[in-house]
Amino acid sequence: MWSCPLRQIDWFDALAVWRRNYDVNLRLWKAEVFPPLLEPTVSILAFGWGIGSLIAAELLEMPYLTFVAAGILVVTGVVRAILECTYGAYFRMVYQSTYDAILSTPIGVESLGAGEILWGASKAAFDSLLIMLILLAFGVLHSPMSILIPLVILLGATGLASIAFAYTVSISSIYQYNYFIALAFSSLWICGAYFPIDRLPLALQYLSWSLPITSVVSLSRGLMTGRLDSWSLLQAVWILISSLVFADLALRRLAKRMYR
């Protein structure tokens, strides 16, 4: 019989797993919160002012600073989620045996996975919120709808964190991340974060739109500028569906590894 691991999640248990990571981060908050925000903030401003001065605003229908801010905001969040659910999760699972300890308690394997994935995603959303506060000061956020961007990033990062987590629980050596990181980071260059996708060859445009992160960038940019259309709704649906599918996959892989 087909069973959906998402339905096995006990959200109270998932929250307990999430809180374990939250507590650890709270202890290390000085190192965890500020340094990771410095580089994306500087790069948004540097790209925006530097490259932006070379680009006519009407080509993009918005200042390049705004265009690239939405992109880098999403990329920063996604990278954060990916790192949490690759190296961070692998350390907890293999070197610290944290999952072993948790699974000896009433926490089920699906709730454990959900807590880990949501941790990665919420960290992405939290980072984006902080960067947005800085962007607000620079007048980059044009629409009050920008407030919804962390939510879009939370949802999109859930999908990407799930892919990362599914990979993490499927590998036997930390060196196998080289393949994943190469693919994941390459995709960040064609997701429309730095330039409009319609400048790419057609085949790459299709590939780009098939990546959920492209929709996350596009939707976030729409919210930042207040320009949303029916296409935006389709993107939101695609982000939601892909996140659910990848989360389902990740939980199945985790169960296969941890309960055998």
């Binding site: 109270f12 610290q96 089920g108 309960y259």
Partner: protein, 310 residues
């Protein structure tokens, strides 16, 4: 769902029937039938790879059964995992304390997984740290603890949920004798509190000291089971004579009531009285020998040695 009335009335904390676990072609646990009574200390003895850890993992619902039935406090391990895990405390073979948290945080975060309210968890954690003599290490990082302290902290962690059954997988492996004896004292105290204890060990002395009943297993099968003294009586005898460095020689059986075994270059003779063994010792004046009461190690070597040969 509640355990059936028949099961609740059962005196058993664990009931295993034809329990099988296979990994591909390897049968780790092979149709084991056994029961553990409430409140007893039950030992699992066997060489590495005997299937002890696998059996324990099935009991605390970390590994599914391939076939058979296994009930813990009347609950089925295949159906009622959450209920069983709430009743069981686990001391795993490997240390899996959380290195990102300090000593007391390890207990408090763990309590959250059992939905113990935080105030109660704090009080409980302080009590248990006192119980395992770590009261002055509350805010120490886990990595700064010695091996023995880590073990004690894991025992405290396993007690956070007030378990009815405590499962300890080789809890004293690698510990020095002081720490080991200290841990034995804690386990005896827990037995007085009527907690059922399931313990696997390589130390036969540990099993003899602590266990009310035990099974000796190898290659997933039970070789013998019973109380330690009965097992000794039944499988060997009251007294043992060891004669060392007997390379290439066969044991000489001088009397119908004397039995013998060979392990490596040592001959072992067993008999019900010392008088039957002393003449044998005198036959080998130039070999190092030892006359002593028979113990569980003799039973273990005899049974597992035979099982390995077969």
């Amino acid at each position: 769902m509640t355990p059936s009335a028949e099961v609740s009335a059962s005196p058993y904390a664990i009931e295993g029937s034809r329990v099988v676990k296979k990994y591909g072609d390897l049968t780790a646990v092979d149709a084991m039938d056994f029961t553990v009574k409430r409140g007893e200390v039950f030992g699992l003895l066997g060489p590495n790879g005997a299937g002890k850890s696998t059996l324990m993992r099935m009991i605390y619902c970390r590994t599914p059964l391939t076939s058979g039935s296994l009930l813990v406090e009347g609950w089925d391990v295949g159906q009622d995992q959450k209920k069983i895990k709430a009743l069981v405390g686990v001391v795993p073979q490997e240390n899996n304390l959380d290195p990102d948290l300090n000593v007391i945080e390890n207990l408090i975060v763990y309590a959250r997984y059992f939905r113990i309210p935080s105030q109660q968890a704090q009080t409980l954690a302080e009590d248990l740290l006192a119980f395992v003599n770590l009261g002055d290490k509350k805010h120490t990082g886990v990595e700064a603890l010695s091996g023995g302290m880590k073990r004690r902290l894991i025992v405290a962690r396993a007690l956070m949920n007030g378990p009815k059954l405590l499962v300890l997988d080789e809890p004293t492996t690698g510990l020095d004798p002081h720490v080991r004896h200290d841990l034995w004292d804690r386990l005896r105290e827990l037995r007085r509190r009527q907690i059922t204890i399931l313990l696997s060990t390589h130390y036969l002395e540990e099993a003899e000291q602590l266990c009310d009943r035990l099974i000796i297993m190898d290659q997933g099968k039970i070789l013998a089971s019973g109380k330690p003294k009965e097992l000794i009586q039944r499988n060997v005898s009251n007294f043992a004579l060891e004669i060392h460095e007997m390379d290439g020689q066969k044991p000489v059986v001088s009397h119908p009531e004397v039995t013998s075994e060979t392990h490596g270059t040592t001959h072992y003779y067993f008999a019900s009285s010392l008088e039957l063994l002393t003449p044998l010792m005198n036959q080998y004046p130039h070999h190092q020998s030892l006359l002593r009461p028979a113990n569980l190690e003799d039973v273990f070597l005899k049974l597992t040695g035979r099982s390995r040969l077969e």
